[in-house]
Amino acid sequence: MTFPGVKALDNVDLTLRKGEIMALMGENGAGKSTLIKCLTGINAFEAGEIHVEGIDGPVVNHSTLDAQKKGISTVYQEVNLCPNLSVAENLYIGREPRTKLGTIDWKEMISRSSRIMKELELDVDVTKTLEDYSLALQQMIAIARAVDMECKVLILDEPTSSLDDNEVAKLFKLMRQLKEKGVSIVFVTHFLEQVYEVCDRITVLRNGTLVGEYPIAELPRVKLVAAMMGKDFDDLASIKTEDNIDFTNAPLVVKAKGMSHKGTIKPFDLEIHKGEVVGLTGLLGSGRSELARVIYGADKNQTGELEFNGQKVKINAPIDAMNLGMGLLPDDRKAEGIIGDLSVRENIILALQAKRGMFHLLPMSKQNEIADKYIEMLQIKTASKETLIGQLSGGNQQKVILARWLATDPDFLILDEPTRGIDVGTKTEIQKLVLKLAKEGKSLIFISSEIEEMIRTCNKLIILRDGQTVGEITENLTQENVMSGIAGGGEND
C-alpha cells in the first residue's frame, strides 16, 4: 500500500495472540492507520498475507463487512455511526434481528440494545437518535456495536481521544472483560499512561516499518518514546525555561467584561496581556471551547463587551475577529478546520485569502512562498504542497491549519485542543511553537485536556466549571493545584 509520494507501509509483521491487548504505537505517519485499513479491507495491500484463527489460508478482506464476517471489527477515532438513526439501529444496522416475515424486528432490536447498554452501564435511551448524545457516548456506542458482533479481533483506533477519565475507565473495564472472553484487542492511542494501564504488549512502527514487538514490562516509557521517535527523547518537561514572567505591566491585548452566550457560557471577565499564554482548563463540556468561541465571534456574545488592543470592538462574526488580528484553531478539525478536497497550499492560504477578500487574489508566487515557508517551519510531512490535505495524517493536517492562522500574522491566537490525537513528537513541536510565538509578542489562548501540557505552556490558567469561570491560577502551576481547582477548590467558588 503506498500513498502518493510516500510509501505508507513497508514489510510490516504483526502478531496478535488470543486474549491479549496489544498497543500499536507510532508517530503520526508511522503507518498505524494504514496497517489497520489493510487489515479491515478499506485499503488493498500489495504484498503480504493475513491469517486469522479458524480460517485456512490467507485472508483477503475486500470491505469492512468482509472483515467483520471474519471476526475483525474496528472502532475509529472519528465516530463512524449515523447521527440521524436511533441508537438501537446504529447498533444493529446491517444485521438487524428479523421477524418470521423477514422484516426488521424493532421490538427485539430495541430490547437487545437496551440490554447491551445496561451491561455497559450506559444511561442511554436506545430509541432516541444518536445525535442526541455526546461525542463520548457515541464513541461508547460505536464500541458496543463492534463488541456485539462477536468479534475475535477488535481494533480500537484512538478511541479515548474524546472521552473523559471516567469514560476511559469504563472503556478499560470493558476491554478487560473482552480480553477474558478471549477477544484480542489492538489498541491505538497517543496517551502513554493508557498503554501502560491496560496493554500486554506493544508493537512500535516508525515511518512505515516495524521497529519491534515488546512485552510491556520490557519497555519502559522512555524507551518506548525513543523507539517511536527513533532518537533519544528530548524531555518534554524541559520545554518551558523561564517561569513566572510578570505580565502586569505588559499592554492588554484582550479585555473581556461580562461576555456570555446563552446556554453555553455564563458571563466572564478575561484579560490577556501581550506575549501571554492563557490556558483554559476544566472538564469536557465545562465551557472551555465555548468561551473561546464567544471571544472570536463564532458564537455572538449576548451580554458584555470586548476591548482589543485597547479599543472597544464589536465582533458580529468571525470575519470581524480575523480583521482585528485574531485567529481560532477549532477543536473539531475534521468538521470545522480542514477542507479535504483542497491542496495543502490552498488550505494554508485560505484564511489569509478570506481576510484579503475574494477579489484580491494572492499571486501564485506569493502563495507558493507562504506554503513553502510554513511546510518548512512546521515540518509538515507531505509529498508536495499540491497534495490534497485529506491524504495527510491527522497531526500533519493539524499543522496545516496552524499554518493557515500563522499566515494571517495574528496578534491573538486561540488554539482549541491543537494537540488532540497527534503523537508525542508533534505535540512537543506544537508546544514549543506556542512558546516561541508568545516570545515574539503574540498572545494566545491554549486549550487542552492534558493538564501537564497546559502547565508546561501557559502563564496563567483559567478554570471553568459548568459554563462558568471559577478560578485563576498564575503561580504554583502544578498538577495538584489545577486538579483541585477543576474539582471544586477554586478561589471564587
Binding site: T64, L85, E89
Partner: protein, 339 residues
C-alpha cells in the same frame, strides 16, 4: 410527559405539516362552503388528480433520503404516457402488456441512473438531468403530436371505473343521490404509499437509505453496500415513477410531449413540505403524502375561487416551501444549541 419528550424536531415537523393541511382544508370548507368544498368528493378528487404525483413523490422521497435527487421523473412520465398511448392507438398492443413494459422500461432507466450515481459516483443532479433530457426527447421521437387513447375498450374501462365508497353519500340540490368515489389510480397510489412506508421502516434496504443519507462514510464503515443501496434507490424511484406514469395516463387518457412538465419539482416540493431534508437521512413518506395533499389542496382552492389566476397556486407553494425550509433550519439550529 414521557411521550412528549420523545417528540423530536422531525416528528414535530411532520405534525406541523399535517396540522397545516387540516387547517388549510378546514379554511377551504369555511370559505367555499357554498361551492361544494365541504363534500367528501372534493377531497377524493384531490386524491384522484394527484395519484400519479403521490407515486412519484414516494420514489423521490426514497432518493432524497440517500441525499440524492431525481429530476428525470417528469419526462419519464411523459415518455411512459406517450408509449402507452401510441402503443394502444398505433401499434394495437394490449394495454396490460404495455403497462408491464412501461415498468420494465422504468426499471432499466433507473438502473442506468443508479449505476452512474452509485458506482461511478457522479452527481445525481447531473445524471438525472441527462435522464430528463433523454425522456423528453424520446417522447418526441415516439410521436410529436398529442395522442388520445380511445380505441382500447379495456383501457377505457380501467380508466373510467368508479370505485364507490360505502359511506358519505348525499343528495345534491337537484335531488340526485351522489355517491363518493375514487378511481383505480388512487387505489394503486395508496397501495404504493403503504408498501413504501413499510419498506422504509421494516426492511434492511429501507434503513440503509437512512444510513447512507445520514453519513455515507459511516454507512461504509458499518459494512453497508452504499453503491448498491443507491442503485436500488434510483431503480425504485424510476419504477414508482412509471407506476405514477400509468396512473397519469389513466387520468388523462392521452400522451403528449409537454405532459407532466415540471412534475419533478412538484414531487420535490411535496417531499420537502412533508419534512424530507434535501441533505438526506431525514424524511418519511407519510410526510410526503401530506405534502402532496397540501399541493393538491392549494390548487383546488385556487380553482374553486374561480377568479384567481392559476399561477397563484405556484406562489402559495413557493411561500410554503420557504416556510418549511426556514422551519427546518431553525429546528436544526435549536438542536445544535441545546447540545
Amino acid at each position: 410527559m414521557k411521550s412528549l419528550k420523545k417528540i423530536n424536531g422531525n416528528t414535530l415537523l411532520l405534525l406541523i405539516t399535517i396540522a397545516l393541511f387540516v387547517v388549510m382544508y378546514i379554511a377551504g370548507c369555511v370559505v367555499y362552503s357554498t361551492k361544494g368544498f365541504t363534500h367528501l368528493q372534493t377531497f377524493l378528487n384531490i386524491l384522484i388528480n394527484n395519484a400519479g404525483l403521490l407515486c412519484v413523490t414516494c420514489g423521490m422521497t426514497c432518493v432524497m433520503l440517500t441525499g440524492g435527487i431525481d429530476i428525470s421523473v417528469g419526462s419519464l412520465i411523459a415518455m411512459d404516457c406517450m408509449f402507452i398511448a401510441v402503443g394502444i392507438e398505433k401499434w394495437n398492443m394490449n394495454p396490460i402488456l404495455l403497462m408491464v413494459l412501461v415498468l420494465v422500461i422504468g426499471a432499466v432507466f433507473g438502473m442506468v441512473q443508479g449505476f452512474c450515481v452509485g458506482y461511478l459516483k457522479i452527481q445525481p443532479f447531473i445524471v438525472t438531468m441527462a435522464g430528463m433530457f433523454f425522456g423528453r426527447g424520446m417522447t418526441a421521437v415516439i410521436c410529436t403530436e398529442q395522442v388520445s387513447v380511445s380505441s382500447s375498450e379495456l383501457f377505457v374501462k380501467i380508466a373510467q371505473t368508479k370505485i364507490e365508497l360505502p359511506f358519505g353519500a348525499y343528495t345534491n340540490n337537484k335531488g340526485v343521490l351522489q355517491v363518493p368515489y375514487v378511481r383505480i389510480p388512487v387505489v394503486i397510489a395508496l397501495v404504493v404509499l403503504i408498501i413504501v412506508f413499510l419498506m422504509l421502516k421494516y426492511t434492511k434496504f429501507g434503513r440503509s437509505l437512512y444510513a447512507v443519507g445520514g453519513s455515507e462514510q459511516s454507512a461504509v464503515m458499518m459494512g453497508l453496500d452504499v453503491a448498491k443501496t443507491k442503485l436500488k434507490a434510483y431503480v425504485l424511484s424510476s419504477v414508482l415513477c412509471s407506476i405514477g406514469g400509468i396512473c397519469f395516463c389513466l387520468n388523462t387518457m392521452s400522451g403528449s410531449v409537454q405532459q407532466a412538465t415540471g412534475l419533478e419539482m412538484d414531487a420535490i416540493s411535496s417531499a420537502v413540505i412533508g419534512g424530507t431534508l434535501l441533505t438526506g437521512g431525514v424524511g418519511n413518506v407519510i410526510g410526503s403524502f401530506f405534502g402532496v395533499l397540501i399541493n393538491g389542496t392549494i390548487s383546488t382552492l385556487v380553482k374553486t375561487n374561480g377568479k384567481l389566476l392559476s399561477s397563484w397556486s405556484n406562489i402559495a407553494v413557493a411561500a410554503l416551501l420557504c416556510f418549511f425550509i426556514i422551519l427546518q433550519s431553525v429546528f436544526a439550529k435549536i438542536k445544535e444549541k441545546s447540545k
